[in-house]
């Protein structure tokens, strides 16, 4: 029996990107807010900004990996 439920599940897994989007926006928004208040210290924290962005983005990409697993190697279904 082969049904397309794994594709629906893969689509549902993409909801994870909503959280990642909110997180990344929060990080950059806070950085901009603080940078406008204190422009001379902003350049020093740029490394922390990029690091925080990459770690947050990773969580959204974990959702993408689940979606890819469900499409290409779905457990339980003959596929």
């Amino acid at each position: 029996m082969e049904n397309g439920m794994n594709l629906i599940a893969a689509g549902l897994a993409c909801v994870a990107m909503a959280g990642a989007g909110i997180g990344v926006g929060t990080i950059f928004g806070n950085y901009l807010q603080a940078a406008i208040r204190n422009p001379s210290a902003a350049q020093q924290q740029f490394g922390n900004l990029i690091f925080g962005f990459a770690v947050t983005e990773a969580l959204g990409i974990f959702g993408l990996v689940i979606a890819l697993i469900l499409i290409f190697a779905p457990p339980g279904v003959a596929g």
């Binding site: 490394g47 990029i50 690091f51 990459a54 770690v55 990773a58 993408l64 890819l68």
Partner: protein
Amino acid sequence: MLQVATDPMHQFKVVRLFELHVGDWDLSFTNSALFMVLGVLFIVGFFALALARPKTVPGRMQSMAEIWYQFVAGIVKDVNHEDGKPFVPLIFTIFSFIFVANILGMIPFLPGGAFTTTSHVAVTGTLAIFTFLLVIVIGVWRNGFKFLKVFVPSGVPWYILWFVILIEIFSFLSRPLSLGMRLFANMLGGHVALKVFAGFIPQLVIGLGFIGAAMAALLVMPLLVSITALEVLVAFLQAYVFAILACVYLNDALHPGGH
């Protein structure tokens, strides 16, 4: 006639370039291994050339080598301060290998196809597990059994201490997983997106003829160029994040329990 694949996942196929079977083991030289060797040769060759005749006022290549080294040394100094000095070669190796492996995947028409070694979980998982085990070994070697203090953050009230320890243990064990997955998923997702968008161009041209070609040239091509630029940025960024996380975990090993 050149046989090209039209699905986005074909680029990740590991192909044996040179068969070599020893008993039960398959030690064939694959295109993944070829790109790793190419990466290492590039790094060693670049630094050998750039630092062949060092001058006090550096020329162009020597400047590039110095910037590269100074970047990594800066990361270690920021995160680990003075204790990190013995570990700069380690972080430098990790950063350079991942960076060059990521970038080599963006160059088309290399022998064996543009293959990103770090887009396979086997490679990134190995790098992550290696970093994780190294942190444990260094921690136990430097601190003995006091290394277990890494699970006991300072300043936690006694009544929730056991709960916090449990959470800390799980979060510690998830480190190699997240390290490997982050790099793998970024590389995989980026290259799949690139191929999917690139596939739109021949589909448009074949499907809609002249109008399709115009749409492809005006809409899809700029998008493709931007995504390629983004992928080069992500290649560098992911190497930087891996190196910084390795430094942070090293800090945990050198000063356990200092949250």
